[in-house]
Amino acid sequence: MKYVDEYRDHAVAQKLIAEIKRVVTRPWVLMEVCGGQTHSIVKYGLDYLLPHEVELVHGPGCPVCVTPLDMIDRAHAIARHPGVIFCSFGDMLRVPGSNGDLFHVKAEGGDVRIVYSPLDCLRIASANPGKKVVFFAIGFETTAPANAMAVWQARAQNIRNFSVLVSHVIVPPSITGILQSPYNRVQGFLGPGHVCAIMGYREYEPISARYKVPIVITGFEPLDLLEGTLMAIRQLEQGRAEVENQYARAVEQVGNVAAQKMIERVFSIADRSWRGIGIIPKSGYKLNYEFRDYDAERIFEVANIQSKEPAVCISGQVLKGLKKPPDCPAFGKECNPQTPLGATMVSAEGACAAYYNYGRHLVAVDSLQAKA
């Protein structure tokens, strides 16, 4: 397939790996920020192909994983309302709340639907004027413009039976948080390609300068990730700490200005809680006051639902790059995609689930690594 196969080429991959091996002289720890990047790394077995000096740890950029339990319970409460059509991205349906997941809500009679775009909800709302259509607006800066657009369009088209349950988070505060931690091991970042396609990468420049850490904005295909790794390792070996853009085919320094404007019109910055991590100040979006009539939390009066999570699993440390999935004694045993014990196992993008889905809980992994 054009524009995809080029970035999965075996010969080019081997060249990049050889170059990384040539450049690297000592151990370095890199973090890929996005869940989509983690997914690709594990899916293609990239970490097995890299020299042992390069350690990849997995970042907090899995939007499904970090959506807090309160929000999921609020979603379930709304979805259980008779007269509600609850719409969500597919992989949110499987995330457990305090009492089952959205599939259970559906099995008990809730009208839960998978949509690919939030704008589809407007069509559903127009076709079902007697129902209230609610969209679960989660994700990073990547999904924010389309979610904002849905609210904007609903108002423009005077669609009154549509609202959004907002649980949006943004990347830079989480990176700053990781770098401020006294336990931090991360020396360089593969930055979030799709987030930067929207936001540009100017806001990463002060972070890179202040903490003296290379940030290479990186794509999601295997060759993107290998090239991003090479660029970050080069910087580290040469003692540089800059923001570089590996993903130039999608990302410009200023980003997508029209999309940023749409976000600003509809959302403003707010404190947000991250599942597995806790509250990070100014780390997400809330609806602007003028759109309060589209705020599902307000309409369905669910803001008071607070859920307590017992502290058992190590997902917080996995999300900060301090631990890896196999470091957890429950990984692949009590904790698996069917009975997830924590944030990083609940979505296919989560580090633990990616490790599990690509067979890393099975024994032959060591033999595969030796062979690669």
Partner: protein, 348 residues
């Protein structure tokens, strides 16, 4: 955020109190139902093999028996409909034991309000599919339920076929050294159905591959030594390979670059974040054949329309028994594992 970690742990769903959709996905939840409910209740040697069909000795003959229920939404999709699926699904389950399908039954559960015009189209489609596969639908049943108690139309078919002498095909027969073949591109049916669901329309249609495979199987068994056959329906090729590796206690190695996937199916999978290896097929098979007869079997397959794009995707190996391993496009390795539930479109 650097105060002691505020760790998270949702309450695990260790047991389902009700049936959820995942129980019908063909993945691990389905396997749990079979293990916890059906196997203990009905236990017998034929069932215990857990093949898609039972092969039974009746007098001097070996008879293959199978049944399958069809609940697809929408009833009509590009390349097929529920009726064609219901005939081909049962024909193919018989063929995967090397059996010659002979007779089918069909039961119709209809929701009040189903247009007779739809029923007419579907029965005509079933008649055409039966003719194509060379089987007869010889008995059946009809039930109507209240509006809301079913989704328009469900069809259950059962079938019997004769297993020719000398044919012994089972998921447990794959042997190290065997060559692994697929009969054509994978993922077509699953993406054809996904692309018709609300909100997910793609430009240009992806067509279901629903087709009878009995003629193809006859040609293959006549041409060489076929050890294992599976039609990778729900759960896809990846699930079939995992099941065969486990049943045969052999290792499986396949090459991602060798697995044929149509460009439009690949594009739809990329867009939705799905893996074509785990997307349903309704007219494809995967075969383990002895190394020496692989060229002859492949040639025989390619003479028939259902096998025109047949190709080699990998090998059965002695190392890592019970496990299927994929060589990735860029030369890495990845273990294929049974999915828990059906794949869902990803957020990013």
């Amino acid at each position: 955020m650097d105060t002691p970690f505020a760790l998270a742990c949702p309450v695990p769903i260790t047991q389902h109190k009700t049936i959820v959709l995942g129980h019908g996905s063909g993945g691990r939840l389905t396997a749990q139902l079979v293990r916890d409910f059906f196997l203990p209740a009905f236990d017998n040697p034929a069932l215990r093999k857990l093949d898609d069909q039972a092969v039974l000795e009746v007098g001097p003959s070996r008879i293959a028996l199978t049944t399958d229920a069809f609940v697809v939404t929408p009833l009509f999709f590009p390349g097929g409909d529920i009726g064609r699926l219901a005939v081909n699904g049962t024909v193919n389950d018989l063929a995967m034991a090397g059996a010659r399908p002979l007779f089918l039954s069909a039961a119709f559960i209809m929701e009040e309000g189903l247009p007779l015009e739809d029923l007419a189209r579907i029965t005509q489609s079933m008649a055409a599919a039966a003719l194509e596969a060379g089987v007869q639908i010889v008995t059946g049943d009809t039930k109507v339920v209240n509006r809301g108690s079913a989704d328009k139309l469900f069809i259950t078919t059962a079938g019997i076929g004769l297993v020719p002498d000398g044919v012994s095909i089972s998921a447990s027969n794959a042997k190290p050294g065997d060559v692994i073949l697929v009969s054509g591109t994978i993922g077509d049916h699953g993406m054809a159905v996904w692309s018709q669901r609300e909100g997910l329309e793609f430009e240009g249609a992806i067509f279901s591959d629903t087709a009878p495979l009995n003629a193809l199987v006859e040609a293959m068994t006549a041409a060489g030594e076929v050890h294992t056959l599976r039609d990778p329906t729900r759960g896809g090729l990846g699930t079939s390979l995992c099941e065969i590796a486990a049943a045969s206690a052999a290792g499986i190695e396949i090459d991602a670059n060798a697995v044929p996937v149509r460009e439009d199916v690949k594009a739809a999978c990329e867009t939705l974040g799905m893996d074509p290896l785990f997307v349903a097929n309704e007219g494809k098979l995967v075969a383990m054949v002895s190394e020496s007869s692989a060229p002859a079997v492949l040639d025989a397959m390619r003479t028939l329309p259902q096998g025109r794009a047949a190709c080699i995707i990998g090998r059965v190996v002695a190392s890592h028994p019970g496990m299927a391993v994929l060589k990735t496009e860029i030369g890495g390795s990845r273990i294929l594992d049974l999915p828990f539930v059906e794949q869902l479109p990803r957020i990013c």
